[in-house]
């Protein structure tokens, strides 16, 4: 029975974790170097389940690492590089202090450098692994690309980040991978579909910022360094996969304008303007993605007809988005965010230019007759031309989110735009859809069912207009308003042409979505019958909860209607008075 007595803290979780200080001692690194190494290698601190056991009886909160992780770190060649760096700094400091310039120059020449290539390969064995980390990578690189040179942040790193982000944007443009845009008060959120992965990233607005003081810049710089390298590798792969020349090169020769940039920066500056097309390797990329049918067939669930149908609809929508601005020529006024708009316009197949005096990359001038849209962000327009539409920048973003060209009437300069809704919100079946969203959806359908909408939304329009015109005229006839509406329409050349045009009779279209919905409903009914008794209860539970939510929705809707009715009544009373 005897045996040796087990000692405490010699096995189990007490030995599986090490505190940070212990790790430092084991690796013989300074804290700063250790942090950098952990960031590069992707080793994170952990929180053990039984802290008291791990901490040998003490309950003090410490930073712990897995012992295995530290042992793994100990094998990396980067450690020697970090140690070399330490020695380098020590020698350099001495030489500088002694004012020994000759020795200093020699030491500086022999500055140790490290490569992160093997780390990349180790952390991301496949390309999709790397793509999953792209969100972080893009966020940080886009932020660093906007930084000014300072003592803390090296100019090289900023420039590198800038170059990488420009490269990436050019890829997104070439691949037409952009799916959603959301202009928030923090920055502009983009969502792209890159090789089947959904990538979301933020870019800050082009404004002057006060840099935050409570951020550890050393850590962020390390992250930025790592991410810039990663983004570079990803860019190379993306470029080579879509038959583009890396590093990106201009298709045409551009002349040097000494007022805009240095001679050595011409290509970089032109690329950064995002306007020009970049050179391809000459091989024609496969046109697979353009055909929704084939795309659907490539999907995983080939057997599921519903899935195929759905993916077909989705693919068609994406195709529509990719060619949304095809044939449109935009001109950006000087107060409009140039880079952002150029990026989104070109992602949807459009072209953009600006005044030549504003910056490099302008391809056509204001006087070009082929311009279809003029983006403007000021209340009044001078010298308005009849052959183009003047719109506010929000129209571009909303159109992309709607995946169709929205009617521009509501986005004319000087008019308060309709709300910019978040494309990241998707209501599920039976949930409450906010009123604004309903309006937005109606607007989306606006082109197709204009008449219907007018008859539907007559009351709303009346209410809105009466709000606007309250001050001007107290009492107005509805008929008068109609007349004014038509006169307004006459001023707009485009609308007029649409009304005057003789349209060809078309075959009655089968609404694919409606048919799909009908089919789905039937299938569901059949499926319900087939549910085994075992799961029936659970199913009913889910259904009741759904019903409940829909009931709540109904309640909200009723409330809204009541509120509206009350408002209308009060307004009418006022008018009467």
């Amino acid at each position: 029975m005897g045996g040796t007595k087990k000692k405490k803290f010699e096995r189990g979780s007490a030995t599986a974790f090490v505190s940070r200080n212990k790790a430092l001692k084991k690796l013989q690194l300074s804290l700063g170097d250790f942090r950098a190494l952990c960031i590069f290698k992707g080793i994170y601190p952990v929180e053990p389940l039984h802290k008291k056991k791990v901490n040998k009886g003490s309950t003090a909160v410490k930073t712990f690492y897995n012992l295995k992780d530290i042992q793994f770190l100990a094998h990396d060649n980067l450690i020697t590089k970090f140690r070399e760096k330490k020695h380098y700094l020590r020698r350099l400091k001495k030489a500088v202090a002694k004012k020994n310039t000759y020795a200093e120059s020699i030491i500086r020449d022999n500055k140790p450098v490290y490569s992160l290539k093997h780390v990349m390969k180790e952390r991301y064995p496949t390309f999709t692994d790397a793509l999953r980390d792209l969100d972080d990578c893009l966020n940080l690189c886009f932020v660093f690309a906007t930084f000014p040179h300072s003592q803390r942040i090296k100019v090289d790193l900023v420039q590198l980040c800038r170059r990488r982000t420009v490269e990436f944007q050019h890829y997104v443009i070439a691949a037409k991978a952009l799916r959603k845009v959301f202009v928030s008060i923090k920055g502009i959120y983009y969502q792209a579909d890159i090789k089947g992965e959904t990538i979301t990233w933020v870019v800050s607005h082009k404004r002057g910022y006060e840099h935050p003081q409570d951020v550890d810049y050393k850590i962020m710089e390390t992250f930025a360094e790592y991410n810039s390298v990663l983004l570079g590798h990803i860019n190379i792969k993306l470029y080579s996969d879509s038959h583009l020349v890396y590093p990106p090169q201009l298709n045409e020769y551009v002349s040097h304008d000494p007022a805009k940039c240095l001679e050595g920066d011409i290509v970089d500056e032109h690329l950064a303007s995002l306007a020009p097309h970049i050179r391809t390797t000459g091989e024609h990329p496969d046109e697979v993605e353009d055909d929704p049918e084939v795309d659907a067939m490539n999907a995983v669930n080939v057997d599921d007809p519903e899935y195929i149908e759905r993916s077909k609809v989705e693919a068609a929508a994406v195709h529509r988005l990719q060619n949304l601005f095809k044939g449109c020529k935009f001109f950006l006024n000087r107060e409009v965010p140039r880079e952002e708009l150029t990026f989104v316009i070109r992602c949807c197949g459009g072209e953009a230019s600006w005044d030549r005096s504003l910056g490099v990359g302008a391809t056509y001038s204001d006087s070009d007759d082929s311009i279809t849209h003029h983006i403007i962000d000021r209340p009044t327009v001078s010298n308005q031309r009849l052959d183009r539409t003047y719109i506010q920048p929000q129209w571009v973003f909303d159109s992309i989110n709607a995946r169709m060209l929205l009617p521009p009437q509501e986005y004319f300069p000087g008019i308060p735009c309709p709300p910019h809704l978040s494309p990241f919100v998707e209501e599920k079946e039976g949930e409450y859809v906010p009123e604004e969203k309903v309006k937005f959806l109606k607007r989306m359908k606006g082109e197709m069912e204009e008449e219907e909408e007018e008859s539907d939304g007559e009351d709303d329009e009346e209410a809105e207009e009466s709000e606007d015109e309250d001050n001007e005229e107290a009492v107005q006839q509805v008929g008068q308003k109609r007349k004014r509406n038509t006169s307004e329409a006459a001023e707009e050349p485009e609308k007029k042409t649409v009304k005057m045009a003789v349209s060809e009779g078309s075959i009655e279209k089968v609404d694919k979505q409606k048919a799909l919905a009908r089919q789905q409903a039937e299938e569901r009914r059949l499926g319900e019958m087939m549910i085994p008794k075992k799961h029936k209860r659970l199913y009913h539970k889910i259904m009741t909860s759904r019903k409940k939510s829909s009931q709540e929705t109904m309640k909200l809707k009723e409330k809204k209607e009541k509120l509206k009715a009350a408002q209308k009544k009060s307004k009418k009373k006022k008018e009467k008075v």
Binding site: E47, N66, V183, I185, E225, E335, P419
Partner: protein, 479 residues
């Protein structure tokens, strides 16, 4: 006379022993000779200048006097003076005439010129030696070869080639096998948190109100937490003024005691009498149990035991009838367990979204996962008030900074432990010195101040003297 005055003197610096013959004679006679030569020249050209009268030598200049007089008539004297004076603003820019130039530190080669040619020649010859030349040539070659390497090293780590060119083929095992959970992300949270729709640059009314409500709730929660902390700390441990002292303690403790103090006293007396004696009465011979008594006790005990046994058996036999109750009990327990398991499962599902405690600094976090958006309440929600909303993108003022968001997100996702910026502390106090050359200005000021101080002291002393004198006079008068 003139000779005596003008005769060259021996310089004072010359120090020679007077007992040496060398010092007897004037060694330098150049000056004297020059002087004599000059005199001779004057005599030759028209007599000694020194002997001539003033009106022979000087002529009154009458040519320009008129113009100056005119000028002075035209401009008043004050104006002229003003004109000559430099502007005050410019005068302030002029360096202080009292201060001396700061002495520059000696460069590394400040004694270079002092080396004699002899030494320089020797050095030159040594540098021309064959070995030296060879070494110089070699170092030049090396520097050339290094240049490319150095250029490449100056840049940050850059990408060079496609890493994943042959994804499928290259299943290379690394020299060191990474740990099992190496590629597992420390948190399930997304890197880019999609903002609330109310944070749009041009939000819809409902969304914006929802965001405001969200922010409002956060504030309320914060207030609640503040209140809780106050109740737990400040209210419990008040400061000295509010803390109960002896008098308040007495009044508090004696509250309600004054009216029925007499009864209490009596009770207390009784109790004290009781407690002073032993509880058990003394054991006497008569109190001992008889044999019979013991036997009867024993028998009754056995009987009771048997009875218990019987009832137990009976109960067990009847348990069959209790089956439904037992079943219900079991079901109840099971349901309880299931519920608890469900709760645990739900908790576990949220686990990957949680921020772990990785440091002594606690990352303040209360996640509330609302329907679509994971809202982190630790950060102030970025929002615009209704009055701050603007119509166009041009006028939009952004909120917050993305770098801070990223930093927070990295901490939230357990990638980096939270940190507090450490303040740099100086080990010793810095001493300040004044350069000698710059002292002059401040010294003047100090003198002035000192003088003023002395004056004040003098006045004070005088007053004291007067007062004392008066007192003395009074004393004298008393006597």
């Amino acid at each position: 006379m003139a000779d005596q005055h003008n005769a060259p003197k021996l310089s004072k610096k010359r120090k020679l022993g007077k007992n040496k013959k060398k010092s007897w004679c004037v060694s330098k006679v150049d000056d004297i000779e020059e002087f004599l030569e000059d005199e001779r020249q004057q005599i030759r050209t028209g007599g000694l200048v020194a002997e001539k009268a003033d009106d022979v030598l000087f002529v009154v200049d009458t040519s320009s006097s008129k113009t100056t007089a005119d000028l002075s008539e035209k401009e008043p004297q004050a104006k002229r003076r003003r004109k000559d004076k430099p502007l005050k603003c410019l005068a302030l820019l002029q360096p202080d005439p009292h201060s001396k130039a700061v002495r520059k530190s000696d460069g590394p080669n400040f004694q270079k010129g002092k080396r004699t040619n002899r030494i320089l020649d020797r050095l030159r010859a040594r540098s021309q030696s064959q070995t030296r030349l060879k070494a110089a040539e070699e170092s030049r070659k090396y520097a050339e070869s290094r240049r490319d390497v150095v250029e490449s090293q100056k840049q940050l780590p850059v990408t060079a080639e496609d890493l994943w060119a042959n994804d499928d083929v290259d299943k290379k095992t690394f020299s060191v096998k990474p740990p099992k959970k190496y590629r597992k992300k420390p948190s399930a949270l997304p890197a880019t948190l999609v903002p609330h729709p109310g944070a749009s640059a041009n939000p819809s009314y409902d969304d914006h109100q929802a965001l405001l409500l969200e922010a409002h709730n956060v504030e309320i929660k914060k207030e609640k937490e503040k209140k809780r902390l106050y109740n737990a700390l400040d209210a419990k441990f008040p400061n000295k003024a509010d803390a109960p002292n002896e008098s308040t303690y007495l009044t508090e403790m004696s509250a309600g005691l004054v009216s029925d103090s007499e009864e209490e006293k009596e009770e207390d007396d009784e109790e004290s009498q009781n407690t002073s004696l032993s509880v058990n009465p003394p054991v006497r011979r008569e109190d001992r149990k008889t044999k019979k008594q013991r036997r009867v006790e024993m028998e009754s005990k056995v009987k009771e035991k048997e009875k218990a046994k019987m009832t137990d058996i009976k109960q067990r036999e009847n348990k069959v009838l209790r089956i439904p109750t037992i079943k219900a009990e079991i079901n109840k327990n099971e349901r309880k367990q299931r519920d608890r398991a469900e709760l645990k499962r739900k908790k576990k599902e949220l686990e990957p979204f949680k921020t772990k405690r990785l440091n002594s600094i606690k990352y303040p976090l209360h996640i509330s996962i609302s329907f679509l958006f994971i809202i982190f309440e630790e950060q102030d929600l970025a929002l615009k008030l209704s009055t701050e909303l603007v119509g166009s993108y041009r006028e939009l003022k952004p909120e917050g900074h993305l770098l801070k968001d990223i930093y927070k997100s990295v901490q939230r996702r357990n990638i980096v432990e939270p940190r507090v910026k450490q303040k740099v502390k100086r080990k010793y106090k810095l001493k300040t010195f004044e350069k000698k050359g710059h002292k002059a200005v401040t010294r003047v000021v100090v003198h002035v101040v000192a003088a003023a101080a002395v004056a004040v002291i003098v006045v004070v002393v005088a007053v004291i003297v007067v007062v004392v004198a008066a007192a003395v006079v009074e004393v004298v008068l008393d006597y």
